[in-house]
Amino acid sequence: MAGPQDTPPLRNRRPGRNSPRIPQSDLDDDHTVIHPTGPRARSQIEQLLDTDEASAVLVALLTLLAFALRFYKINHPDQVVFDEVHFGKFASHYIKREYYFDVHPPLAKLLYGLAGWFVGFDGDFKFENIGDSYTEAHVPYVGMRALPAILGSMTVPIVYAIMKESGYSSIIAAFSACLVLFDNAHIAQSRLILLDAPLIFFMTLTMYSYIKFRKYRYLEFSPEWWMWLIATGTFMACTWASKVNGILTVVAIGIAVLIDLWDILDIKKGHSMEYFWKHFMARAAALIALPIILYLSFFWVHLAVLTNSGPGDSFMSPAFQETLRNNEMLLNSQEVRYYDTLTIRHKDTRVFLHSHPERYPLKYDDGRISSQGQQVTGYGHDDSNNLWQVIPTKALPETGRGRIVRHEDVVQLLHVNTQTLLLTHDVASPTMPTNEEFTTWPKDDHSRYNDTLFHLRLVDSHPGAALRTKSGLFKLIHVPTKVAMWTFPGQLPDWAFKQQEVNGKKEVNDKTAVWFADEIVASEDGEVKSVEEMGHKEPKQMNFFKKFGELQLLMLQHNAGLTASHPYASGPFNWPFLISGISFWTQTEGQKQIYLIGNLIGWWTCVVGLSVFIGILGADMLARRRGIVPFPDEVCNRLWNSTGFFLVVWAVHYLPFFLMGRQLFLHHYLPSHLASALIAGAVLQFILSETINFPISIRGPHTRPKPRQYADVGMKGPIIVGVFALAMFALYVYLAPLTYGTPGLTGEQVNSKRLLSTWTLHFAAKTTDAAP
């Protein structure tokens, strides 16, 4: 860890990070109140701790502890826990190379796949249900769980390094590290195959790199400067590619960079526009172009690995699916010709378009009246009543490609068993008065000819495209009344054998009104090629960017679609206060459970730290507005720029959740919690001592030397931090059974662990239910 004494006592122009608010305070030496504390004037303990050796020992100790706490009983439970059910499954898909779909970018899952492959996981175990046993299936799950545990452990020394690099005392850095180290939530989250440990690891690395980069700002365009700039971009891309939330890290760094560039643009700095553009381009290259390339390349790997058909097929467009080996659509797709008899299925609910001789009842329960026509329903099973024949409405050539059913054709559909034509009209459907009833009409009766005409509109197609089975999604638009054939998972009453209702929906653009031809049962000449006859088909090729674009769009849509309520979902406002946790796993036998909950002391300390910090900033602003300088400019700059950066990271990783409609969980706060731990450290330093390590940036060729000063938190620092770490450790141990899921707890013990009444622990003794 590079301590400030590594750098020669130079005068740097600006410590910490820049802020547009006090653009020239460092130029204004009259106002700076320097406390020239020499390196020797500090307390013994500070001098001791500030040495490289002490720092190394501290880091080693923290790292060892982190590994110990995260690896302790990592084999327990030997069952699928919480979201391992997803991410473990994805790892197995990578190993099997089967295509899957998920809302999160692939990097972290690729790593899990890699880890699984490395430890010899064959991918046969499918992580079907929470609670499935690993041991019985001989899954090397410990190896896979080791990956997040390692990353989670490594986060702790990085936190230390961030604080150290930002110029705080070693003991303060240790304090921030302890807040993460002893935190039950971080520990629980990084012992399982989940995405948060990699996300947080890469996020801390990004912050670290950016701080290093900022320290080299006086040596602009030097190799180190470039190195850290590129490192920032790289880790940023990794964060982003680990989990969707990582985009927030990109935003946080983006804000910091914009503030930085805004400073450079300031005329008072005396830089020319060329100089500004040079800086701008460097950042654009390293922080925009590079991450995008990396992000794309992760997806490229993702798509290159997943070449076989798998559970994710059905999410994708037909064209995409045809690039997957053994995909059903690829194998079975063939062109539909007129007079072919085929089955038609609804895309979302997978029911067949069905009809049977039974008729709609004259009157429904709510008093409306039907046409008493033949019922048209959706039916989930194979049946000869599912067969429909495509009848042309135009003259056809005798043979050849002219007989193929194409996009925008107007067709009739003949129900083969009853020899009636599909029809819809302006009669309310059985359950939805707003939609039109579908029925059929005898083939020979031409009185309703117009009502039997349907416009066949292929989805995402071009003129002249042929209708293909499996792959060709289409809408059937009724020609006279412009409704689309539609069905939804709503059952009809007994008179229709509880089959699904099919009706005409007026919103033609509805995405759920999509059907496809499932299979050609018979063609006009009676010949149907079987799959074998068509032979083995090679997957088609598709442009990577097209695939990526489609996948990315789907991910966004599905992420926004995760709005169903979840018993353990919680609102963002609850998070910092640790109002409620998440039950990850329970085992009735032995009354074991894993409950994601943080270390109450640590989290509340962070909240206090945050509010104190915001209070300090507010007081500083007000005081300066009245011409009072409450503390020296160096301290002020450190607060605004360095701690301010942490605050930006915290806010950017937290506040957007208030706007999100999707399911939110406590673990979404973990990145913000880490940032708030950094703030808590900075606030502790501020409270303990007015002195700071200054300057900490690397001196450039043109920077004016400044008097150096050293931070000194004295003896009280280590004592406070030590006591605090002990208290945290004690609470951590107390809550450990909830974090590790072992040992089991009796009802009374569970009650005693329930520090807040809002924690919904399992196996609680029912004291509250007893008679009053």
């Binding site: 805004w262 643009l265 300031d266 005329i267 008072k268 526009m273 004259l362 009157k363 329960d365 709510d366 008093g367 409306r368 009246i369 039907s370 046409s371 008493q372 026509g373 009209h425 302006d426 009669v427 309310a428 939805m432 008065p433 707003t434 939609n435 009833e437 309703r448 009502d451 006279p480 009344t481 412009k482 929906k505 007026k506 919103e507 007000l622 507005r625 009245r626 011409g627 706007l659 409609g661 509250t768 008679a771 009053p772």
Partner: protein, 1111 residues
């Protein structure tokens, strides 16, 4: 944010030199002349602007400008009030929009309604009749409308429900005048605001005329809607705030400074009392205040003490005053609405207790063995523990136990001791008084059916899970029952102020649980409705893992015959104003947040500045009203916002690179001016992006007001270097374009005649979905009125019937007398409901015909009538000729053409998509159209003859919960005539029918009603078929224990068999006929009904009040 900027440079005429400026023909365009108008003014008075001259509020108006203002007002008056009375039917109004209607579907039982003129008109009626209601908007604007109506003599009787009914005796013009006049006054306010912001008179004139000719604002202010008051008060606030800023810059703490500040506060209170959107205005002013205070803080000449004074003054006037004003409005609201009404159901029991009619008599404070009690569920609004003589279809098959929200004798339970031997149901009378304490083992006897509350190991009907048991009523008279009837009282908590309530059961004060003695489960209820067979009342179960909140109960009333007369009594604590106020705020908030249903014409905020789409308010008679802005004004305002953003961004960048733009007086002046307006625009626009609820184009209007002012500010900036005459010419060109646009789209504003061709041409943007096909081909067709009404085929499909997500506009085709030419077959093929109507001389109470009509799927055809028809709900005789004649009335609305197309397509299918009444998302338009048709068929008064039956005359009055009544009317209007009939039936003894026929609203309706011995009308239930035995309800049936009160508790559909429907509709028709007879009121003295059910029918009725006339 501050409104003006101090002049830094003296204008050209030196002080004292009275040189008229107009002689200087070519002022130097390069010079930063601050304000030519001002300069001229100063010069004409003999001194230059450099001298300290401070007009009131910084408003420096020329005498000539006052004349100009009057002229502007006259123009605005003409534009806003042109033919304001024209839509003289409710129908027209009925299709106006607002948001409220979603409330109905989103919430409990409140009749949710169209949000429209009907809606707010209805509220006015409620105010006048003091019937409590709940709305999502604060009361000020509604109070103003009511005031106008009241001053003009409106008595609140018009129901605003009956569609297409011409307003009669309703001073609707006066009520429309409120928003219209406020709309007119917005115009001079805009002028004054810009003048106070130191713009030139030309600019101010341009702005005021832009506002005048903004089609959207005109449309919105011509109807009884809340947006016009909102915009007015927003504008007023901006003006007052600007004035205050000017005063503040001049000299703080003067008298006029205080005046402007206080007025701003009051105006802020008024904005937020119109609609909660007013909070954005508060935010705008708040931001301005913060900026002022921040500037003051940085001003070292301001001492901390002075700063605190500034701060306190603003806090007082801008926080306390608006808050006080807002609360005062609610105080008035509560003071007026002292009677029970449809809004009761939203409020807590304590709140309801404060409403007249909901008031509850004092009841015994103690509950002892033998007390007759009613028990309420604490956590849900489900109501009372209830049983009725119907059995569970599954499970044990025993009698149902439910929660029922209304007071009823079926809610009465007797608490008896379960530990004694002997017959506890009798013994209690002899024993000493024993209070019920925690741990007492009791049985609960349902007194009207002689069954006890019982639980056993059957799964409940809906919550079919292992840990819940069914609760039923079991036993018979004389049967002691078994141990499954035993429950143990567990007191959960008492009231702090009543110490005894924690120890023993006290009425209203003690919350307790009932544990089933044998299985240990707790009596439990939750918001789960039972199916139709239990009238969708709330499920009651016995839950072994009961959540505490849902298993708590309290005793609401308690009567013990052995208690001495002076036994302590209790009642609900009457909540103070503050707690009522807070409760209502909370209800409004929840309701508002629940308005998330999609609507056909809703839109997202991003589409507003583009004017992507309007709102269809009303379509009828080949005319329509469509809310659409003036495109030029709209787009210009949006462009100027973008222009400001671009310029400001550019200036910031320049400043960063050392350009000293912000030291230029002109830049500073316009930056302050436009910045203020831009912030106002942003704060009235961007917050909508955060709202998930239904949003409509008219939510943009407050922001649009700012945008128009900003647009004129930009105009002032752009033309600042030009000569005044050139500037005036440019303004004139802009104005002419705007007025041309206004005129071009004005048929949509006023509902005037238009032609198809012109309409199509006017569809500049594809997404403007006014329906051009509704207009006629040429203007002459409108005058001809005949024949031209070519029955349209399918095109109109687009609008009729609406869409699943919301209520579509209704295209109601009127054939303008052309109906007479239509062959009768068309009539017969109508696909909607045909209403039965008693033919002259037919005694419906004789019953035989009814039976026939009800049991056969054919109308009760009179010989010589038209051929049978099938209709979805009712078949009944119909006199073709009469109907056709009706249709020939000019006002009549038909949609023959619609039906034609349908019926041609489906010769054998006569059912139309009839909306289910409880679904507001259904196609309401169709509803209205049906209602309209029904109305015509129902009220051919001249042909209707009433014959007395042997059942005697009953006068109907309002004895039941008005909410019930409302709901029914609501449903009736929503299109289910089944329920309209029910309404009639129920009204015998439950509600007044006065409001059903607005045409005769001043005549209390009377109808025949069966004699019921009970105080309330009862319908023999479940087997509705019983009603069709020819005589409808038989007295002896009504007195049977099986009688079941018409349970109309929840917002839901009544399932009735077709015969019943027929009957009911015929009855309804009769009732209407009776109503039509101008006979004096006949009223029998009130029966022995409960006091609280009796209420005056109508405060304003000059005839004797009609108390509950119970037979």
């Amino acid at each position: 944010m501050s409104a003006s900027v101090r002049v830094r440079r003296t204008a050209s005429p030196p002080p004292g030199l009275a040189q008229p400026v107009h002689t200087q023909r070519f002022p130097n365009p390069r010079r930063d002349i601050l304000d030519a108008d001002e300069k001229r003014a100063a010069a004409s008075r003999g001194y230059g602007p450099g001298r300290k001259l401070h007009p009131f509020g910084g408003l420096n108006l020329e005498p000539a400008e006052w004349k100009l203002l009057i002229l502007i007002i006259i123009v605005a008056f003409g534009v806003r009030l042109f033919r304001i009375s024209k839509p003289n039917s409710v129908v027209k109004l009925a299709l106006s929009f607002d948001i409220c209607h979603a409330m109905c579907c989103a919430f409990l039982t409140l009749p949710v309604d169209r949000f429209d003129e009907v809606h707010f008109g209805k509220f006015a009626s409620r105010y006048i009749k003091s019937q409590y209601f709940v709305d999502v908007h604060p009361p000020l604007a509604k109070l103003l409308i009511t005031l106008a109506g009241w001053l003009s003599g409106y008595d609140g009787d018009f129901d605003f429900k009956d569609i297409a009914k011409v307003y009669s005796n309703v001073p609707y013009v006066a009520m429309r005048m409120v928003p219209a006049m406020l709309g007119v006054f917005t115009v001079p306010i805009a002028y004054l605001t810009l003048r106070a912001l130191e713009c030139r008179a030309t600019t101010a004139l341009l702005a005021s005329l832009f506002i005048t000719f903004e089609n959207g604002m005109i449309t919105q202010s011509r109807h009884i809607l809340l947006d016009s008051p909102l915009i007015f008060f927003t504008a007023l606030t901006v003006l007052l705030w600007t004035g205050f800023c000017n005063e503040d810059k001049h000299e703080p703490f003067t008298e006029s400074w205080w005046l402007w500040l206080t007025l701003t506060g009051l105006s802020l209170g008024a904005v937020v009392s119109c609609k909660w959107v007013g909070l954005f205005t508060i935010a705008t002013v708040g931001l301005g205040t913060i900026k002022q205070l921040w500037t003051l803080l940085g001003d070292m000449r301001v001492t901390p003490r002075l700063w605190v004074r500034h701060f306190m003054a603003r806090a007082l006037c801008l926080i306390a005053v608006p808050l006080f004003f807002y609360m005062f409005m609610f105080w008035i609201h509560f003071a007026i609405l002292s009677n029970s009404g449809e809004g009761d159901g939203f409020m807590s029991s304590e709140f309801q207790h404060t409403l007249r009619g909901r008031w509850m008599a004092d009841t015994n404070a103690d509950v002892a063995i033998g007390s007759l009690v009613t028990i309420r569920h604490v956590n849900t609004q489900g109501g009372y523990l209830h049983s009725h003589p119907h059995n569970y279809p599954g499970g044990s098959g025993q009698q149902q136990i439910t929660l029922y929200p209304h007071r009823d004798s079926n809610n009465d339970w007797r608490i008896v001791n379960a530990t004694e031997s002997g017959d506890p149901y009798v013994d209690w009378e002899k024993g000493p008084i024993t209070y019920v304490t925690s741990g007492t083992r009791v049985k609960l006897r349902h007194t009207s059916t002689d069954k006890s509350l019982h639980s056993h190991d059957y799964r409940p009907p809906v919550s079919d899970v292992d840990f819940q048991n069914e609760v039923s009523a079991y036993g018979m008279a004389g049967f002691v029952g078994d141990a499954n009837d035993d429950w143990i009282v567990e007191i959960h908590k008492g009231d702090d102020k009543d110490r005894d309530s924690g120890k023993r059961l006290r009425t209203l004060r003690t919350q307790f649980r009932l544990r089933h003695a044998l299985t240990g489960c707790y009596l439990f209820s939750h918001k789960v409705k039972l199916p139709d067979w239990a009238y969708e009342q709330q499920e009651v179960t016995c839950n072994k893992q009961a959540v505490m909140d849902n298993s708590l109960w309290y005793v609401e009333t308690s009567i013990h015959p052995n208690f001495p007369a002076d036994a302590p009594k209790v009642n609900y604590r009457i909540p103070g104003f503050l707690s009522k106020f807070l409760e209502l705020q909370q209800v409004m908030w929840t309701t508002n947040a629940g308005l998330t249903d999609r609507h056909t014409y809703d839109s997202r905020p991003d589409s507003w500045p583009r004017l992507r789409r309007g709102i269809n308010f009303w379509v009828k008679d080949h005319r329509q009203i469509y809310l659409l802005g003036n495109p030029i004004i709209w787009w210009l305002s949006t462009a100027s916002v973008l222009f400001y953003i671009a310029i400001r961004g550019f200036l910031i960048l320049r400043a960063k690179r050392g350009f000293r733009d912000f030291e230029n007086t002109k830049v500073v002046k316009y930056d302050t001016l436009c910045g203020f307006l831009f912030v106002g625009w942003s704060l009235h626009y961007f917050p909508f992006f955060l709202m998930g609820r239904q949003l409509f184009l008219h939510h943009y209007f407050p922001a649009l007001y700012f945008a128009i002012l900003l647009c004129c500010g930009v105009f002032d900036l752009v033309t600042s270097t030009l000569r005044p005459r050139v500037r005036l010419q440019i303004a004139a060109v802009l104005l002419i374009i705007a007025i041309w646009n206004y005129a071009y789209f004005s048929p949509l504003v006023y509902g005037n005649t238009w032609t198809k061709a012109k309409c199509r041409k006017a569809q500049w943007v594809k997404t403007w979905d006014f329906s051009c096909n509704d207009f006629l081909d040429s203007y002459s067709d409108y005058n001809a009125g005949v024949g031209a009404a070519t029955p349209q085929k399918s095109p109109a499909v687009a609008t009729v019937g609406g869409e699943a997500g919301g209520r579509g506009a209704v295209v109601v085709e009127d054939n303008l007398g052309g109906a007479a030419n239509l062959p009768p077959e068309d009539k017969a093929d109508t696909t909607t409901i045909a209403f039965g109507q008693a033919e002259p001389g037919h005694d419906i109470f004789g019953g035989n015909d009814l039976e026939k009509s009800s049991q056969v799927n054919e109308p009760a055809v009179e010989p010589g009538e038209q051929e049978p028809k099938e209709v979805s709900v009712v078949m009944a005789a119909q006199q073709t000729s009469g109907v056709v004649q009706d249709a020939a009335e000019p006002d009549a609305v038909e949609n023959e053409s619609e039906e034609d197309s349908t019926s041609e397509a489906v010769p054998d299918a006569t059912s139309d998509s009839q909306p289910e009444p409880e679904k507001t998302e259904g196609p309401q338009g169709e509803t209205e159209e049906e209602a309209e048709r029904a109305r015509k068929e129902l009220f051919p008064e001249e042909r209707f003859r009433w014959r007395d039956s042997s059942l005697g005359t009953v006068t109907i009055s309002q004895t039941g919960a008005p909410s019930t009544y409302r709901r029914m009317v609501q449903r009736a209007v929503n299109g289910s005539f089944v329920e309209l009939g029910l309404l009639l039936l129920a009204s015998c003894g439950v509600v007044s029918l006065t409001a059903i026929n607005p045409a005769h609203q001043n005549i209390p309706l009377r109808t025949r009603c069966m004699p019921a011995k009970d105080s309330r009308f009862r319908i023999i239930s479940q087997e509705w078929g019983m009603l069709t035995d020819g005589t409808y309800i038989k007295p002896q049936q009504a007195t049977q224990r099986q009688a079941y009160p018409l349970a109309l508790q929840e917002d839901r559909h009544m399932h009735c068999s077709k015969p019943l429907t027929t009957l009911l509709v015929v009855l309804f028709t009769l009732a209407m006929g009776v109503a039509a007879r101008p006979t004096p009121i006949e009223c029998e003295p009130p029966g022995g009904g409960d006091n609280d059910r009796r209420r005056a029918v109508d405060m304003n009725e000059d005839s004797a009040l009609v108390p509950s006339c119970v037979v």
